[in-house]
């Protein structure tokens, strides 16, 4: 074994176990991940660990939390615990899909904006316009145009989130374009697409991942808000926002119908934000210092 490979070994060893040891060492990321994993497990195992969330049982109307109904029941006698377990599915699907799709869209548009001036001019005006409309209002307006479904809600939440990611990616591209090595690469005949992939993407990934976690948290809150207003996922789907919306009428009698799913919602958002904060401190120290 040569001296060089011996010297390289410890570094390589760190890289392979890096993610896990990082998660263990950073309590914020660890706690955030732990909460999310438990929620994800509940969402996946819902059919085995929960009863039918839609079953009406008039006998059991408005029951307080007990050994039989852990989180009580609503005015139709539906088991709140089961509804919350199934509701986790909706929240996680919305959060993850909005984060993933708006990141991909934002990344694509942002890269194009950063490299083509004419495209930038048009698109940024549109993005400014979209950003001027309060997100929940824009989402409601979009949803009411078509028959509501989970997909429609996801799309309606994505649209107001995209401009923020576009701005982020665009700013990364613009700052990298100022670097002398880009001039060198262009002078050397490297084409724009290669430049994007080789120089911009690696620099954009860290802030993008951090931003995506915040988008995920924001999407979960927005979905709940939309459902709460009656403009979200169809009422027959047990989402946390729907549970809360349907609990409004009897709030004074059965506050748990609203408070318990609310706490789950807050906990989920907290976990995602903690993950985001931890990743930010780890991946994007420049941003971390500013926050």
């Amino acid at each position: 074994m040569s001296a060089a490979s011996i010297a390289l070994e410890p570094a390589a060893g760190r890289a392979s176990s890096g993610l896990w040891s990082e998660i263990r060492r950073n309590p914020t990321i660890f706690l955030g991940c732990a909460i999310l994993l438990v929620l994800a497990a509940c969402a996946i195992l819902a059919p085995w660990i929960a009863a039918d969330p839609l079953k009406h049982a008039p006998v059991n109307r408005l029951k307080a939390p007990s050994a039989e109904f852990w989180f009580g029941t609503d005015q139709f006698g539906r088991d709140i615990y089961s509804r919350i377990v199934y509701g986790a599915r909706v929240s996680l699907i919305v959060g993850l899909s909005v984060a993933a799709i708006s990141s991909v869209l934002g990344l694509t548009i942002g890269l194009l904006c950063g490299f083509y001036r004419w495209f930038d001019g048009i698109v940024m005006r549109i993005m400014d316009g979209i950003m001027a409309i309060p997100s929940i209002l824009l989402a409601i307006a979009l949803i009411t145009l078509v028959h509501p479904s989970l997909t429609v809600v996801i799309i309606a939440i994505i649209i107001p989130e995209v401009p923020r990611i576009v701005r982020l990616v665009r700013s990364v591209v613009l700052s990298i374009r100022e670097q002398p090595y880009i001039d060198g690469a262009v002078a050397g005949g490297t084409k724009a697409p290669r430049l994007l992939v080789r120089h911009v993407l690696p620099n954009a990934v860290a802030p993008l991942i951090v931003q995506a976690t915040y988008v995920c948290a924001s999407a979960i809150i927005t979905e709940a808000g939309l459902s709460f207003l009656g403009a979200g996922v169809p009422p027959e789907i047990p989402s946390w926002g729907n549970i809360i919306a349907q609990g409004r009428v009897f709030f004074q009698l059965t506050p748990w119908v609203i408070l318990i799913p609310g706490v789950f919602l807050a906990l989920t958002v907290l976990a995602v934000n903690m993950l985001g904060d931890g990743l930010r401190d780890r991946l994007d120290p420049r941003l971390a210092r500013r926050m």
């Binding site: 005006r125 316009g129 001027a132 009656g230 958002v269």
Partner: protein, 313 residues
């Protein structure tokens, strides 16, 4: 300075134009017949035809756009489909509660969060700092409606200190009005405060490590003066920015808060209009809210020039 303000002002026009076009296109882009959509599932063919004529949907699209833009420029946002009242009048009727709620929230949040952030930065890593930061991480995760119902449960239902829901207009007396706003303003302001406190702390921490703060201390100035004049004025730009961004957040929050607390403001008007598919009202409200947001961004931009003498006009 005035050239700078003028330039910023002119920059808002393209944004508003995009919003106007967007709002116009929105309804026309919907799959199917917008008139049928607005009329609802139980409408007869005659109802649909009626709506089509009233909204001018039977005209060529460019003609529709000219009428729509012309109306906006004259301050005419159209007529509600259901109540037949001008949208501007409906908005004016609902303005007071929303304005009062937004102002109350802004005042409560800024006057609490900025001092907390300053305190946390000054006593960095202390217990106070940890508490403020803990609050800010938690507060940012609490959705408006959860905060609202928890507050109602504790202060209105259990302790009976404050009214459960509803809004008392200013005409019923200032204090009664303020009382009805206490809980909504705190609910709406929680996430906002968390955000401001966090940015204030971060911005102050950065400033407090600067050389000129050491200079201020070397002059033996009182701690309050070093913190509140020398440091806070330098830290102000990010704080004002986040206060501005947060107002946009508040507008979304207002819609939910007004539903939780049953406040008959613009948010409630929006939700009711959306549920009834009263599109002229929805369009008008989107324009008004977007205009507010653009105006606030403009104010924030202008404030930079006063906060930092290095900003070139």
């Amino acid at each position: 300075m005035s050239a700078y303000i003028l330039r910023r002002l002119l920059a808002t026009f393209p944004v508003m134009a995009v919003v106007a076009i967007f709002v116009f296109v929105l309804l026309r882009l919907a799959p199917g017949d917008p008139a049928a959509l607005i009329a609802g599932d139980d409408a007869t063919a005659a109802d649909i035809a009626n709506i089509r004529t009233r909204l001018g949907l039977d005209l060529p699209i460019w003609h529709q756009f000219v009428i729509w833009i012309g109306g906006i420029l004259q301050g005419d946002l159209g007529v509600s489909i259901f109540s037949n009242l001008p949208v501007t009048r409906l908005i004016a009727q609902r303005l007071e509660p929303t304005l009062m709620l937004a102002l109350a929230t802004l005042i409560v949040a800024v006057s609490l969060a900025v001092p907390l952030g300053v305190l946390a930065a000054w006593k960095a890593k202390s217990l106070v700092d940890r508490i403020v930061m803990g609050f800010s991480v938690m507060g940012f995760a609490v959705p408006v409606f959860l905060a609202g119902y928890v507050l109602i449960y504790i202060f209105a239902i259990q302790l009976r200190w404050l009214p459960v829901q509803g809004y008392k207009p200013l005409a019923d007396g200032f204090w009664a009005s303020i009382q009805s706003l206490v809980l909504p303003a705190i609910a709406l302001g929680t996430a906002y405060m968390a955000l401001i406190a966090r940015i204030t702390r971060a911005s102050m921490l950065e400033v407090l490590s600067q050389d000129y703060i050491r200079t201020a201390n070397s002059k033996g100035l009182a701690t309050e003066r070093v913190l509140l004049l020398h440091a806070l004025k330098n830290a102000a730009v990010p704080i004002v920015t986040i206060i501005g961004i947060g107002i946009a957040l508040l507008i979304s929050g207002v819609v939910i808060t007004e539903t939780v607390f049953n406040i008959p403001g613009l948010g409630r008007l929006t939700v009711d209009a959306v549920l009834k598919r009263d599109y002229p009202i929805v369009q008008g409200l989107i324009l008004v809210f977007a205009m507010t947001k653009v105006f606030i961004n403009l104010m924030v931009d202008i404030s930079y020039a006063f906060l930092d003498p290095r900003i070139r006009y």
